[in-house]
């Protein structure tokens, strides 16, 4: 009965099938991202009460926290896809890993920018060499290294494999960076950014946050699907299925 699931997954790994699958799913993902984003922003910016201490400035978390979660999540997705690409040499996994990197870098950048915008009124400084901030900055450089290495090769598939290897090395490094910086921080001075533990936030503020989290997830899926579709067309340029798509588009 359940035999069609592995079969379907194998089929999904082939570029033409994934091209059609991603094309069919992308508008829905984008619509869901917009829907949850609008609900989350309305709930966060209008409905949620101001914080008793920070006033309205805390509302930046509705952008900042989902972006921070996405910066980690996308690196994990990229690492898993890179592992699959290196072990089983699946072309689609290479494309997914390489096209995740710019989106992840963008979310990391948004996290850093919104964080420093919030830090200026709250901490009185744009930037401090705190463990969280530093590890997030290192994450951005890891993303940039992967992107740079991918584009340094003339052969795209070879570049993708080399960059996938770098992404996997980076995954090992992320916890090391985190703990070493924590340790270094206790030597000098301790400062914790963790204001909102899971149980320390009011429901009025939590549900817009969760809605925004869903919105960023769906946006990532939509953006990834579009990038992967474009990349597949470029990579498979000489193949029959791409020619058919080009011919049908030329006719209309």
């Amino acid at each position: 009965m359940a035999r069609w699931i592995p079969l379907w997954l194998h089929k999904l790994g082939s570029p033409p099938t994934f091209y059609r699958f991603a094309g069919a799913l992308r508008p829905w993902m984008l619509a869901l991202a917009l829907l949850f984003g609008l609900i989350g922003l309305y709930g966060g910016l209008v409905l949620a009460p101001p914080d008793y201490q920070q006033g309205d400035a805390y509302r930046i978390i509705f952008i900042h926290v989902p972006s921070a979660w996405m910066s980690m999540f996308i690196y994990a997705v990229m690492g898993v896809a890179a592992f699959i690409a290196l072990v089983w040499r699946i072309k689609l996994a290479e494309v997914v890993a390489m096209e995740s990197a710019p989106i992840g870098a963008a979310f990391t950048f948004i996290t850093l920018v919104t964080g420093s915008l919030w830090g200026k009124p709250m901490w009185g400084t744009w930037w401090t060499w705190d463990a969280r901030l530093t590890s997030e900055l290192v994450l951005l450089f890891l993303y940039l290294g992967v992107i740079g290495l991918y584009h340094a090769f003339e052969d795209r598939r070879q570049g993708a494999r080399a960059a996938a290897f770098l992404a996997i090395i980076g995954i090992i490094n992320v916890p090391i960076v985190h703990f070493s910086v924590n340790w270094w921080n206790t030597l000098h001075q301790g400062s914790t950014v963790n204001l909102f533990g899971p149980s320390k936030i009011a429901w009025d503020m939590l549900w817009p946050l969760l809605s925004m989290t869903l919105a960023t997830k769906f946006y990532y899926a939509a953006s990834l699907f579009r990038r992967v579709r474009t990349d597949l067309l470029a990579l498979e340029g000489g193949k029959d299925w791409v020619r058919k798509i080009a011919e049908s588009e030329a006719r209309t």
Partner: protein
């Protein structure tokens, strides 16, 4: 004809690389000169106040050595790729990881060791207290092999590309952050009279891990990069 044993092959590899480096002695002096010049610029830029220079001396020496090593890193495999001897090494019956380990060792001896020898002079230029010097040297002895090993993996990854200098810096710097933090932490602790053994122990642990894993990763990366 039997292939030579592992020890013979390793010794031959090491001797070959060291001989090649010795024939081009000028290249060995370059990172040392670079480190001297960079260290010299700090008193000019910051002013010759003893207290300020003393406070930053440990960190400046560490970062200078790191940058000098980064400059030399690019050349680790480049001549071997140009004349095709790296492909021969990949095809050789001996395990590639071990041979690359020997190449990394030779590279460390020719670039990092001169920098460590010159480090007391660099520290003296910035008035680092004499009591801290042994800790700084120990930290350098533990941190530079980690940088060489990590750098070798990344150099192997970029082996198939044309220009890799800035790219190498972009890839290496986030990966070497832990080594820099621990080394600088040990020096800073020694300078403040605090116990400095713990960061050095972490550094040694990282070195052990890198000695075991980095040659294997380097071999895998080289196979990817040469797989055109």
């Amino acid at each position: 004809m039997n292939p030579p044993g592992l020890v013979t092959a390793c010794a031959a590899m090491l001797r070959r690389d060291l001989t090649l480096a010795w024939r081009r002695r000028g290249d060995i002096a370059m990172p040392v000169l670079y480190a001297l010049i960079v260290t010299m610029l700090f008193p000019f830029a910051l002013g010759p106040e003893d207290t300020l220079l003393q406070r930053i001396a440990g960190g400046v020496v560490l970062v200078t050595v790191l940058l000098a090593m980064l400059l030399a890193l690019d050349a680790m495999f480049s001549s071997d790729i140009e004349d095709g001897s790296l492909e021969q090494l990949v095809l050789a019956p001996q395990p590639l990881a071990l041979m690359l380990g020997m190449k990394i060792l030779a590279h460390w001896i020719t670039t990092a060791l001169p920098l460590i020898v010159i480090a007391p002079l660099l520290a003296g230029m910035l008035h680092l207290p004499g009591a801290v010097l042994p800790v700084l040297l120990l930290a350098l002895l533990l941190a530079t092999p980690v940088l060489s090993l990590l750098g070798a993996v990344l150099v192997a990854l970029t082996a198939g590309t044309r220009r890799s200098g800035m790219l190498l810096a972009l890839m290496l710097l986030p990966l070497c952050v832990p080594a820099v933090i621990f080394a600088a932490g040990a020096v800073a602790a020694a300078q403040q009279g605090l116990p400095w053994q713990a960061p050095l122990a972490w550094l040694a642990a990282a070195l052990v891990l890198a000695v075991v894993l980095a040659p294997l990763a380097c071999a895998a990366a080289l196979r990817i990069a040469l797989d055109a």
